[in-house]
Assembly symmetry: C2
Homo-oligomer: 381 residues x 2
């Protein structure tokens, strides 16, 4: 059998969850994992151990039989990797021309402005004076961000005193990531929209979802977003489809959004499967993981129809329980779909998630929370 090989850089749970989709489609998943105990290592069909900055590791990822395509489970991909793939004649999807907007928040904000998409007020800052000036015109508060390297609340800081920016600004002056400041958007809630796009341009969206963040980390996703008007959802689709097309994204694109009244503001972009789309594994005809594989292989995209009126996904953050697998015996709700990532438990670390579907939103939410709490080890919520 000549099975197409998809190579993935990054060995976390996002790469791991591509494996079941690849198995079903008869696709071979070759993953570059940071360590032999990485989340994706056991599940992947072929494993290369190494860091994306290591040329030998990338050479092994690209070795014969050559992968049909290289894709990513995170944004922190050195430029050299793209060059190595090009030299080997293996396409990178999304390519560097798109991915840079997920890697660098200044590039992203600049591009959103150019495209006329709804940005918060923002500016690049290089001095404490810049920051002070921004704060003084924004009610004394702002969201300071490093342009690169942040995730899950890291590299993001709400400040009300310009002096709080000094450390990151110093780092930026000494070769660290550039720094930007954004207005603290007075949002009523956070939403997310995902689409998948094929190389030739076909785009398919999933439903607009609500994302509840706790301490900068996604905690609960409700699909579809409750009380969202058809107009609001259409606006979200337009924003995501515009970004996907104009930035030439291939694969899955997630756009995190703020809702302000009946307006949307772009928060962040991810060009890969995303936590806000885990609900699609159990909740949709086609999951974000299968769709990402389909898109980067330039295969027809699957239907994104939801299978139930409501789907709620609750993350399991590392807590009391050290061996999460022991939780499988304790989750007795027959509708709770438990997903464990095979990661060592550390407090606050994303180590699994639980999905519940049903017709009664309050019931579904309560059961997803309860099951996630049991897995975590804190008892029922």
């Amino acid at each position: 059998m000549t099975s197409p090989i998809v190579a993935v850089v990054g060995g976390g749970q996002l790469a791991r969850m591509m494996a079941p989709a690849a198995t079903a489609l008869g696709i071979t998943l070759r993953v570059l994992v940071e360590s032999p105990t990485a989340s994706a290592a056991l599940a992947a069909h072929q494993t290369v151990v190494g860091l994306p900055g290591n040329a030998d590791a990338i050479a092994a990822l690209l070795a014969e039989p050559r992968p049909a395509v290289v894709t990513w489970e995170h944004e922190h991909i050195p430029r050299d990797v793209f060059d190595a793939c090009e030299a080997a004649g293996v396409p990178t999807r999304p390519g560097i021309g798109a991915l840079v907007y997920a890697q660098d928040k200044i590039e992203m904000r600049t591009r959103m402005d150019t495209l006329g998409l709804p940005n918060p007020s923002w500016r690049i800052v290089t001095s404490v004076e810049d920051v002070r000036h921004f704060l003084s015109s924004h009610d004394g508060v702002g969201v300071l961000k490093t342009a690169r390297g942040g995730y899950d609340g890291k590299g993001v800081r709400v400040i009300s005193d310009a002096a709080q920016a000094a450390q990151w600004l110093d780092a930026a002056a000494n070769g660290g990531p550039r720094v930007l400041i954004e207005e603290k958007v007075p949002f009523s809630r956070e939403l997310a929209i995902q689409v998948a796009r094929r190389p030739a341009g076909e785009v398919v969206p999933w439903r607009l979802v609500e994302s509840l963040q706790v301490d900068g980390v996604c905690a609960v996703v409700t699909a579809p977003a409750p009380r969202a008007s058809a107009l609001l959802e259409r606006e979200a689709w337009t924003i995501a489809a515009t970004i996907a097309a104009k930035l030439d994204v291939v694969g899955v694109l997630a756009v995190e959004l703020f809702q302000v009244g009946e307006r949307l503001v772009v928060n962040e972009l991810a060009m890969r499967p995303h936590n806000s789309g885990h609900w699609t594994i159990d909740g949709c005809v086609t999951s974000q993981f299968e769709q990402h594989l389909r898109a980067v292989l330039d295969l027809p995209l699957g239907a994104t129809t939801a299978l139930s009126p409501w789907t709620v996904m609750a993350n399991v953050l590392g807590g009391e329980r050290e061996q999460l697998e022991s939780a499988l015996a304790d989750v007795t709700d027959p509708d709770a779909k438990v997903h464990l990532y095979g990661k060592e438990v550390r407090p606050g670390r994303k180590v699994g998630h639980v999905t519940v579907m049903g017709a009664d939103l309050e019931d579904v939410q309560a059961r997803a929370h309860a099951a996630a709490a049991i897995v975590r080890g804190g008892g029922a919520a």
Copy 2:
């Protein structure tokens, strides 16, 4: 992480499709595969290459870290394997006490009679004269079967002349499998029912399904079975629950049934995931593969609710196309869930399946057929 290990004997597609379920649950799947290119080899988390009759292979399957349980993807398990597992202190689920009824059709028929479950008329035959006598009292036609070793129509033969039985009877007299003959049941259609059972006795059924066989091979499964009365479905559940309990089955049990008017007759048993349950992967809250893992690990069983009014699963039998993966580009129906088994294509061999769900049965059936035909390579149906 200490992840529970489930060991599986047999490397076909049934073992392969346990892997995605195991990955989601954080369970390690260790599979004994017949060859490094077996269907399950790439997808399994850990692989041991060897035949179940090889003691070294079984020792490797049972090696430290010890599996929590050993289970099967087919019935052809030598007695020695059970002894080796017992010596190693690893439970076998289902155990030999149950599995013998799936291994041996004479044991099964005898037990069904004892339990008062609906058997066809049947008898053990050891001579051509026995066969002639049976035929003469059954309108001159009967279904000759070897008690052991058959599958997918092999070891089963409709005969109308006793002389046709001579070869199998000779083999039986020389140490081959015993032979039985059954009445040719005048069924209106074939149905199948699946249940899962935990060691302590909890039993959960899926819906009754219709199974269309072509040349003794399952071709299409429609779930739920169209035009089946609630009474008929309840009778099927009772039959399966009785068999599961009385035979002490642990794991998934499939009972193939004949419908005769409004009566059911037991055709065959399988104590493992079964082709008639492939629709549950996309079509139910809990698939037969996840449920089998849950049952053999003595975990709470998941809900078996169907996600759509109708689900149709069409097998892909080996046909014109040698590289099935090339079909992925040709199946443009966004609702067609394509499953490929990574097996070398041989004419008539089960190499994949397609599932379509929806509200309009005729539409769903037509689309499942069409997609399976495209994958096979014969063009649209």
